[in-house]
């Protein structure tokens, strides 16, 4: 569509999107559009629950880290009483930044402009010459602004800059059943190792969202080099729909995960026996969750809109060494239609032996993050998609991208009727329904509809009617 200031641009764009989604398509131009970016910032990132960080990143009172929701900067800080806060980093006097470092420890944040000082729970503690200059100013009303809503799930802190909308509990819905497997499998939970990797790339944020919402089809091609070197087994890296693995694509309350595993085998993502025996626990999980964990080799997944995770077994940094698992979570932060900042954390079971935790972190950097043998090859591809979306041709030719794999008129797809978890599971991974579900939610939020309206592909709709 052409740039249009007549006011019905949004309406026409959404109508185009609706037409495309009904066909399992998505216009290329949507991956690079300034007006859409503004709309996404307002209607998605202005309302959604966005990942901030893990509590283990700020373990002590006064520990803080600068974090972002869209274009907004916040201070993620544990106060003197041990509570976690998310404070808008803008002085109540003239708006200057009061936090300058990326991470650190402090009892107070002091504005460099006129010296207003705030405790680490946001309370205004000091206003220079207040008795003369601001004698009637109410200190209580001039603390740093708290984000309207802040909630924690298994140490993962999420926030929303909207003061209304579904709770985090409702936002995650039954998908917690799946994420619990990662966070609760080890007794004592998971913890973040060190500081996150951050890098800015020239790609639209929806490219990586697509990738994390069940793109099992890309691994053997984009990551063919990893397969060539046998840095991961065929079942971890190989072509979708091949090998002996039990492959599932799971959709649950708007979030997705894809799993590869082996039926009736003790796999546990190739965690070593001593970790499985000494650290893993059935206490936090149901028998069904435990069985899924037991048979799982790898998981990829995404929580709408901008949180992704990978929990892989059977990978290595050197074919002559033993394989090991890694667990990484990440966030993609849109900066512009053609720019995002990636944040990526390596995690390990808190109570695992120190040496093993270091091995897990090593597996993470060997495979993902800026130096990862997998990820090195993903990012330039996402950049290419964004470049292609930039010009006139995508608009004038109405260039549509194809997400039809797995639609009932395109492929033979089955639902696993015996799947023990909530949502539903396709019984194989040659399908792109997770991406369609992501696009549908993107559409519903831009149209200012409830996210729950997004049903994904026709096969999902059929399923939901059956229920």
């Amino acid at each position: 569509m052409a740039i249009d200031d007549t006011g019905d641009w949004t309406e026409r764009t959404l109508a185009d999107a609706r037409d495309a989604l009904d066909e399992g398509l998505f216009p290329l131009e949507f991956f690079h559009d300034e007006q859409l970016h503004q709309l996404e910032m307002e209607r998605i990132f202005g309302t959604a629950w966005v990942f901030i960080g893990h509590e283990s990143e700020i373990p002590e009172p006064g520990d803080y880290a600068r974090r972002y929701i869209g274009d907004d900067t916040f201070i993620f800080v544990r106060d003197e009483s041990g509570e976690v806060n998310l404070l808008f980093d803008s002085c109540r006097h003239r708006g200057a930044r009061v936090c300058r470092a990326e991470q650190g420890n402090t009892t107070h944040f002091r504005c460099p402009y006129h010296g207003w000082t705030y405790k680490n729970d946001g309370e205004a503690a000091g206003i220079p010459q207040k008795s003369k200059a601001f004698k009637n100013l109410d200190r209580e009303e001039h603390g740093l602004a708290h984000v309207p809503r802040l909630e924690t799930y298994e140490g993962l802190v999420f926030a929303s800059i909207s003061d209304e909308g579904p709770s985090l509990e409702e936002w995650l819905g039954d998908f917690k059943w799946y994420f619990d497997i990662h966070m609760k499998l080890p007794d004592g939970g998971m913890e973040v190792i060190g500081e996150p990797h951050r890098w800015v790339i020239d790609a639209n944020w929806k490219t990586i969202a697509d990738n994390f919402n069940g793109d099992s089809y890309h691994t053997a091609w984009a990551h063919g080099s990893v397969l060539d070197l046998e840095l991961g087994g065929e079942e971890t890296v190989g072509h979708a729909g091949t090998g002996d693995s039990m492959d599932r694509h799971i959709h649950c309350d708007g979030h997705t995960t894809s799993m590869r595993g082996f039926e009736d085998e003790d796999v546990f993502m190739t965690y070593p026996e001593e970790v499985v025996e000494d650290v893993f626990s059935r206490d936090g999980l149901s028998e069904d969750q435990w069985q899924v964990a037991r048979q799982a080799l790898s998981f990829t997944g995404a929580i709408f809109p901008n949180f992704g995770f990978l929990h892989f077994g059977d990978t290595t940094d050197d074919p002559d060494k033993d394989v090991a698992p890694f667990f990484t979570i990440r966030k993609w932060r849109p900066l512009a239609p053609d720019k995002m900042e990636l944040w990526s954390w390596g995690l390990a079971p808190k109570n695992a032996p120190e040496e093993f935790k270091q091995r897990m972190y090593k597996m993470y950097t060997a495979n993902f993050g800026p130096t990862g043998n997998f990820e090195q090859d993903d990012v330039p591809i996402w950049k290419g998609i964004t470049d292609g979306a930039k010009g006139q041709f995508a608009k004038t030719s109405d260039f549509q991208l194809n997400y039809q794999m797995g639609l009932d008129w395109m492929s033979e797809m089955d639902i696993d009727e015996n799947w023990p978890g909530p949502g539903f599971a396709y019984s194989e991974n040659l399908e792109e329904g997770g991406m369609r579900l992501f696009h549908e939610q993107w559409y519903e939020l831009l149209a200012e509809n409830p996210r729950e309206n997004a049903l994904g592909s026709p096969i999902n709709i059929q399923e939901s009617e059956d229920k």
Partner: protein, 185 residues
């Protein structure tokens, strides 16, 4: 390995012969670092590996941004923490026709400067240098940079050349502005 980067340079040595000897060593080290830079700029990665010792520790920690200290690096987070096996694996991966990020290869120009030999133990030397790498990719004039210091331990070989037994790369950047790190520094 010494990291005396905050220390001022030594005053000129009174002993001219010793100073000449040190200068020759420094020249040898610089020649090696320039040669290494050229190998990497030309993406002669296997030839580069020939100068990597089998007991190599090759690290690039994540730089931190703290309120009061300029030169802090993470004790836990890093981009690289490689041994000979994992470094060799990374090199071999680039031989694959599917290593897309380096097809076509990144155009790089490495500028090595501020070379200081901190300690010469005869068979091994501790060397500090600055590195600036120009990078450009694909069909684009866009360019970006890595900038940092490297702390190396070089071991003399029988053929008169060196091999690297220890390297720590300390980038100036906290937030990387590149798609990925698919080159060696």
């Amino acid at each position: 390995m010494s990291r005396q980067d905050s220390e001022p340079d030594q005053l000129p040595n009174q002993d001219r012969d010793a100073e000449l000897e040190a200068l020759l060593v420094e020249r040898e080290v610089r020649q090696f670092l320039y040669y290494e830079a050229k190998l990497l700029d030309n993406r002669k990665l296997h030839e580069w590996l020939d100068h990597i010792a089998e007991d190599i520790s090759y690290r690039m920690p994540r730089r931190l941004m703290r309120e009061n200290t300029a030169d802090t690096y993470s004790e836990e987070s890093y981009y690289f923490d490689e041994d000979y096996g994992s470094l060799t694996t990374r090199v071999k991966r680039f031989d694959s026709e599917y290593a897309w990020s380096e097809r076509p290869p990144t155009r790089t120009g490495r500028y090595v400067s501020n070379v200081v030999v901190h300690e010469d133990r005869g068979d091994e030397l501790d060397v500090e240098s600055c590195l600036l790498v120009y990078l450009s990719r694909g069909d684009s004039a866009d360019a970006t940079f890595y900038s940092g210091r490297r702390y190396d331990t070089l071991r003399r070989r029988e053929d008169g050349s060196f091999e690297i037994t220890d390297r720590e790369i300390r980038l100036n950047q906290t937030i990387l502005s590149t798609d990925n790190v698919s080159i060696f520094l």
